[in-house]
Amino acid sequence: MSQTPLVQALNVHKAFDQLEVLKGISLDVAPGEVVVILGPSGSGKSTFLRCINNLEDIQQGAVLVDGEQMGYRHAGQKLLKLKPDAAARQRRRIGMVFQQFNLYPHMTVLENIIEAPVGIHREPRAAAVAHARELLKRIGLAEKENSYPRQLSGGQQQRVAIARALAIRPKLMLFDEPTSALDPELVGEVLATMRDLATQGLTMIVVTHEIGFAKEAADRVVFMDGGHIIEEGPPGELLVAPKHPRTQAFLARFI
């Protein structure tokens, strides 16, 4: 890769108390690249995603997004941990979509989408509303702007959550198992929205169980197991002719 990577994970180790979940993960993601992370439950893939935007702190290694070290600052020779509000500031241009949608239930769809642009990015309200309506139209939910999340189906909620993340004009989008909480017939609409984004040059890191999505939309597929990256490569190779036996065993279940 000739470009400077947008995301650089360097030997990331993460443990919850005594339980080591990530045992040295290194990964570069180029601008505009769509990386899909696959792996069995408990492989650490969601945890790794949450380490990228510093929702989880790491015990060893470093994570850089757009050249900035997440969660830390340099004071001369010393590396200092950022205070929570300063750490939050680093995440302002990183969109995130959660497994449980996590829409703000007390706000309407429109209020959900403009909350960060108006409240954090200080966009004028009218501009934020116009942008939000444009996004809602793109995901096909223009008529739902005054609904509350509870009045929407799971698939609609997740699409609104995607629109909410896009509203901050993110330089990076993180998807944490976005379809795992959905009924099977609602998965398609969310994946369609995500495929649409992937073709538009947005940098995306997607943790998912949807092999089909990886096949169609990913530039690169990363297979994780037991806190390690086992294998990575273009979907045409990794998904079709995996080299490592653990990848082969994992993929065999989907055929």
Partner: protein
């Protein structure tokens, strides 16, 4: 196997539940009749009982002293509750913070003010000058910058407000803390992922959702507070009860004047109950389904 089109069989008219009636509930009607009869009889006995001195109650119901006392009780309730809630919110946030100092200070405050009777706290505040004749703003162990006479600061009114507000803050802190904890952890995480500061996340995301579980017990506290204000009569604060007492000390109409106070307390708490209903409905608005479903997803 062959495919069948869905069956169109209809229920016969005598089985179709759309024509069903509720059975007449004789037992329930009888129960209502008996209870209403006893109630009417009890009210009648009270109404014709001369010992109640209804004309005295009527005479003093809107007496200027009673009205002034009622005013003070309401002011104490409102001021005590507002200060108590604001302080309670700060204490709740302090208790939930990661800061050891804030956490233990808030814990100690709540421990002390919940652990001692309100009546004793009121008497203590009122008699503060016997412990500390002067109150000064000073450098610890150093010289005083400003100094006041305690007796000039502590009037019945300030003692009453201090006592009620600080005691209420301890209880409100626990109610608010419970409310904040009731909000899904994912909400805080989402706010943080979008780059919100903790203060903003609390104010915009967590507190509005916590209100659903904070409002009902707070309504309870407010109603308790209305009645707790009657305790300030012991420090000669002229609240509703004190006004009634000072009248019956002159006229010896003890029961009628206590009834005047009782009816006023009931009127205030009834109004508060109704208000609480409105507030609860406001914070439940995001739960409401659309009145006209727009797509199958709304059904």
């Amino acid at each position: 196997m062959t495919l069948h089109s869905p069956s169109r069989a209809e229920a016969p008219a005598w089985q179709d539940v759309s024509a069903a009636h509720q059975p007449v509930q004789y037992g329930r009607i009888a129960a209502w009749a008996v209870v209403l009869l006893f109630l009417a009889n009890f009210l009648w006995i009270c109404a014709i009982n001369a010992n109640f001195r209804w004309p005295v109650i009527r005479e003093f119901f809107f007496h200027p002293d009673i009205m002034r006392g009622l005013g003070f009780s309401l002011i104490l309730t409102v001021v005590g509750m507002v200060l108590g809630t604001v302080l309670g919110l700060l204490l709740a946030v302090a208790r939930l913070s990661n800061d050891g100092l804030a956490k233990s200070a808030a814990g100690a405050f709540i421990w002390f003010f919940r652990g001692t009777p309100l009546l004793v706290q009121l008497i203590f505040w009122f008699n503060l000058s016997t412990l500390f004749p002067h109150i000064s703003l000073a450098i610890p162990f150093g010289p005083a910058l400003i100094s006041w006479e305690t007796n000039a600061l502590i009037t019945p009114m300030t003692a009453a407000i201090l006592g009620l507000a600080l005691n209420e803050a301890a209880y409100m802190a626990e109610i608010i803390r419970g409310g904040l904890l009731s909000v899904d952890r994912g909400q805080n995480e989402t706010a943080s992922a979008f780059g919100m500061t903790r203060g903003r996340a609390l104010w915009r995301i967590i507190i509005p959702q916590a209100m659903r579980s904070i409002v009902p017990p707070t309504g309870n506290e407010l109603i308790s507070m209305v009645k707790a204000t009657s305790l300030v009569s012991v420090i000669a604060m002229s609240d509703l009860l004190y006004a009634a007492q000072s009248i019956y000390n002159r006229t010896f109409e003890v029961v009628p004047l206590l009834l005047v106070a009782v009816f006023w307390y009931l009127i205030i708490t009834t109004v508060l109950n109704i208000g609480q209903g409105f507030i609860e409905r406001y914070y439940a608005k995001s739960d409401r389904r659309l009145t006209t479903p727009q797509t199958e997803a709304d059904l």
